[in-house]
Symmetry: C2
Subunit: 325 residues, 2 copies
């Protein structure tokens, strides 16, 4: 018998691997199994790996399942299935579909007596929490979110879908002028394209297509149109050598006014060497909260807004008040 | 009948006045009364003012009392009395005495069926929450808190107690080199005196005492000894004209490592034009949470660690998920 929190990982990509590593930094957890759709014997890890089809055999062995699939197709399919039998934590990050996702998961978790923490990461997640707090504290104010410098998978994928493109990477970069304008308390009205610029590294199949590809990128509505966009053409080798990093980051800035024209600024920033490993670390801390909510008898879907944050810590309330408060 | 949250303010100094003003920015609140130890007719406000001795007459008129006294003597005396009859929110900021304060208030609130939110401000408060989250997410890391640039009342008071000092103001200022060292991910071991310097503006009664006063300031253990301390002697008029501002701020920086030597930095910063008015705005947002916890039937003392932060908002869960998450 162990008192450790027993964890299962569903999906073994960058995020799942990150969770496996983060669990080693927290001695109150034990990794019971990694669940995969692939052939378990093909997974390169020392952890115990099981095919996802056998997941129900582990109903009594696992306290919290950390779902490490993608938001586009994996999580909307997996989370309802897993949440019907296990407590879950996921980093669902499709902002527009959060209400629908919540409704499904909340219903299933309540029917199944489980706890599901969803959209747990940095945005949505930590950034959301900072937007919420800042807006509640300084309601006469304005919140700005900046992303980057870092790779946007969505924008990189959009470029890759263009005819003649072999591979591509797109960096989202905050505009320094916009940041300074906001920090100065000017409350500017800035859309996303006025706060960020986009830099693309593209590998063409044929160099004669470069002009057309650049044109197609820059005119793509919803992705690049309206943005200050730079396109560089490089070789596949250069892409692999120089653009395989996973750094990212960003910040939330809120400026607001209390009475008598006093201005205040709240700023939350992340500078991340490895985006998925950081998100994994967030997921692991919140797995502790999922377990605790479950032990309390709570049921349903919870976002970062709905959880007392003491639940992230292995320390007692007494210890937290004494050492951190 | 009103559905607004009915607020009482106890104490009408900078903080109480700030709460009065912040309530005007939030339409779901109504200020029922300000309670004071002074003669109510001497209080310069359009709000309804009552002597503190009559506070029990308002037991059924007020949902949450916002306690605006000082932490040194007012709150330890007032909070137990008020919490025995009302839900409360306060900004108790004597870090060393928090455990004792919590134990008293928690017992009284539980006996009295009330909710008491304590140590709600920016430090303790928002900074504490950021220390907690960062340490739980990146346990292989280190947290640094910086205060300033801003006036430290405790240090200003300590100077004023020196023989021959008529008045004084002390600014705490973060050391840029320390910040850069931390941001670079070097995890330096830095005590408070290695992260801040102190600048004092002192009005002497007699200029012949200046040398001795400066000597006494710089050698004061627990306050200035070990710090890079600068002392300027000025006139009372200069002190009033140039040093009556109330700006403050500071930040919490956490740097931590996930696997494979990837470094990450989490930074939370505040830049405040008016320290008490900002703290007042925090208190008001948390008064909403106190009311909601009370309606839920919760009882006892709660810190910022113990409250789902959705409770700070007048918006519904659906709205929050749709617009902020």
């Amino acid at each position: 018998m162990t008192n450790k929190i027993r964890i299962g990982i569903v999906g073994y990509g960058n995020l799942g691997r990150g969770v496996e590593l983060a669990l080693e930094q927290n001695e109150d957890f034990i990794l019971e199994a990694i669940f995969t759709r692939r052939n378990p014997s093909n997974i390169d890890t020392d952890s115990y790996v099981v095919h996802i089809d056998e997941v129900l055999d582990y109903r009594n062995e696992i306290d919290v399942m950390i779902l490490c699939g993608g938001s586009a197709s994996d999580l909307p399919e997996q989370c309802p299935q897993i949440a019907a039998n296990f407590n879950t934590v996921d980093s669902f990050d499709n902002h527009g579909k959060i209400p629908e996702y919540f409704n499904t998961i909340d219903r299933i978790a309540k029917e199944s007596d489980t706890v599901s923490l969803f959209s747990i990461g940095w945005d949505p997640g930590l950034f959301s929490l900072n937007r919420l707090m800042a807006q509640c504290i300084l309601p006469a104010g304005k919140t700005y979110t900046f992303w980057g410098k870092g790779v946007s998978q969505g924008h990189s994928d959009a470029i890759r879908r263009i005819d003649g493109v072999r591979d591509a990477i797109q960096y989202t970069i905050p505009l320094e002028e916009a940041i300074e304008d906001i920090r100065a308390g000017n409350n500017p009205d800035l859309q996303a394209e006025e706060r960020h610029r986009r830099v693309c590294y593209v590998v063409p199949y044929d160099s004669k297509d470069m002009e057309r590809i650049e044109e197609e990128i820059k005119s793509m509505p919803g992705y690049f149109l309206g943005y200050d966009t730079t396109v560089h053409f490089i070789t596949q080798e250069e892409l692999i050598d120089d653009h395989s990093n996973m750094f990212h980051g960003g910040f939330v800035i809120h400026t607001g006014r209390t009475a008598e024209e006093h201005n205040h600024r709240i700023e939350y920033g992340l500078t991340l060497d490895h985006n998925p490993q950081f998100t994994s670390s967030v997921l692991v801390a919140f797995a502790r909260a999922a377990h605790r909510l479950s032990l309390e008898g709570q049921r349903g879907a919870f976002s970062i807004f709905d959880i007392p944050l003491a639940y992230l810590s292995p320390k007692s309330g007494d210890e937290l008040r004494k050492t951190i408060l």
